[in-house]
Symmetry: C2
Subunit: 337 residues, 2 copies
């Protein structure tokens, strides 16, 4: 599948597969007979049932887990909105290749396969305060790249990003699509000072004013005010849905990347869970707007899928219990009186 | 070491080792130069530094992790305070031996060594509404058993329990030592109905009234209103401190078991972290009283160290990053401008 216009994405979002209710019900029934009070594993039970629904298996598996990280560069970085210089994007991609970043360690720990896609880093998007960040073709190229990135036979995909200045992009998307003003969504990202934060808010307000004519169209907003790595994340998440692959979302930028999809239909993100809530200012409010309840709340704010990768461990715990525990009958344990 | 009177425990709690500040500082310094914005791994950074302090190693390790589960039976179970019959304690211990319980799966997943100590299950403690649950010797025997349970050369111990009716015991300890009335601390445990919950509150109020003369003495309260598995947990946690072994606490019952230690001196639990906050009603308030900020909040309420074991995964993630990441200098990544 290849998208050649924005409307095709919107049309697909309105007729997505709903998951396998039979597998979910069988998994829920199994949870009732395992040797524990019903419900006592809390979200670990719900996660097993959720994996069952989207994998279409009452005994889900996590043998092949993909961590897909997309990297992009941003014209807006030239406006002094980040604590780090723009060249760090390409340097961190090299660090990913060399195995030195946090996500490399977490991929190794979880047994997941890490894939990093650096998308045209030498050609930053345009400064979105005075132009569209990407024209439609540019956006679709990145979206299609993400759409093709879900490996065949994959059991789960954790998605994340790298891109200096992209928390400004994320906050701009939230301001454009959810309202409330830039100050509600802009945070300190990698650690800007008060001046940097003020500049972030200012460029976001400029951008929303400049693009005011398209704010009702989520995909045009994603192209005009987004970034290539965000477009690729959206493509990846949509492909996972079609292919029966559950998704763990990373932090603020990743969640903002799928916000346009969520504005196209109510159930677009039902196959996704938020791996964590980031310390980045706007993430908690964004998750609440999307009705996503994060699995972890550890004050992480690194991106590069680090929060989603950490949450893979919780899914492994959920399935270890779901698939490995004995039933009351098997163990000869008395059930409730 | 062997305790032959309660006062010896109190004396030890007032002169505990403080951890290795040099190792903690070296670990904190390392976190500053790894390829990420400082602080961006949030609690994963703090956990690595905490492990460094209590292991006395700037590069901590989790090669040998112990999960110690203690089981006990309770006279108070005869008062209709649990949804399950008392024989489930011994049946679940058999399930642990056979490998069918949740904790077996989590131990396998984390690579930890599970040890289950069933403490005199055929001899329940006394009904604490009309007598002391344990006399001093009985309490010390269980405490000493726990004290001996930390394996030589162990890098971390996760502690938990099994014992039908022991959320009533836990709530009684909290009511006795923290006040606020039984209704503040009693919850539904494995799932009692409204009548069972009312009975729990009633027996706790009876017990606190019966033992009103000793409420200022935390260890006498632990003997009079506690349980053998709780005494063993307290012994295990204290031994870990002496041996330089950090501890992950499980849920409400486990935390209530170390509450008496925390009442003896301010820093007794500094080598402990709360693996999770349980769905059991009183746990969140108990953690707040102990200034313990839980690592996970997943609505779990199973006990048997399941929450602590799940949190081991987060410590593994913390150390994977701490020990495996490249520094800015090693990776050739530009630091902040």
């Amino acid at each position: 599948m290849q998208f050649s216009k924005l409307d095709d994405i919107g049309a697909l979002c309105r007729e997505l597969p709903k998951g396998d209710s039979r597998a979910a019900e069988a998994a829920a029934a199994r949870q009732q007979v395992l040797t524990k009070p019903p419900g006592s594993l809390g979200r670990l039970e719900q996660l097993a049932i959720w994996l069952a629904r989207w994998q279409g298996r009452d005994r889900p598996r996590l043998d092949r887990v993909a961590i897909n990280v997309f990297a992009g560069n941003h014209g807006i970085a030239a406006r002094g909105v980040s604590a780090y210089p723009a060249e760090v994007t390409v340097q961190m991609v090299a660090n990913f290749s060399a195995g030195g970043a946090a996500i490399n360690q977490l991929a190794k720990l979880t047994g997941a396969k890490l894939a990093v896609e650096a998308i045209e880093l030498s050609r930053p998007t345009r400064d979105f305060t005075t132009a569209v960040a990407m024209d439609e073709d540019d956006f679709l190229r990145a979206f299609n790249l993400g759409f093709r990135s879900v490996p065949e036979g994959c059991d789960l995909v954790a998605v994340g990003e790298m891109g200096i200045a992209n928390t400004t992009v994320a906050a701009a998307l939230c301001t454009a699509l959810l309202g409330g003003g830039a100050a509600r969504w802009a945070g300190r990202g990698t650690g800007v000072d008060d001046g940097g934060l003020a500049r972030k808010c200012a460029v976001i307000e400029e951008a929303v004013a400049f693009h005011r004519g398209i704010l009702a169209d989520p995909l045009r907003v994603a192209a005009a005010m987004g970034g290539r790595e965000l477009a690729a994340i959206a493509g990846c998440v949509l492909a996972a849905r079609i292919r029966g692959v559950p998704v763990l979302l990373d932090g603020f930028v990743t969640t903002s990347a799928v916000l346009p999809l969520a504005r196209l239909a109510d159930d677009t993100l039902d196959h996704c869970r938020a791996g964590h809530v980031s310390a980045e200012a706007g993430h908690r409010a964004l998750l609440a707007a999307l009705k996503l309840d994060p699995l972890l709340d550890l004050g992480m704010r690194l991106g590069e899928a680090s929060g989603a990768a950490t949450a893979i461990l919780l899914l492994q715990a959920a399935l270890a219990c779901h698939n490995g525990m004995a039933s009351f009958a098997e163990a000869g344990v008395s059930n409730r009186e």
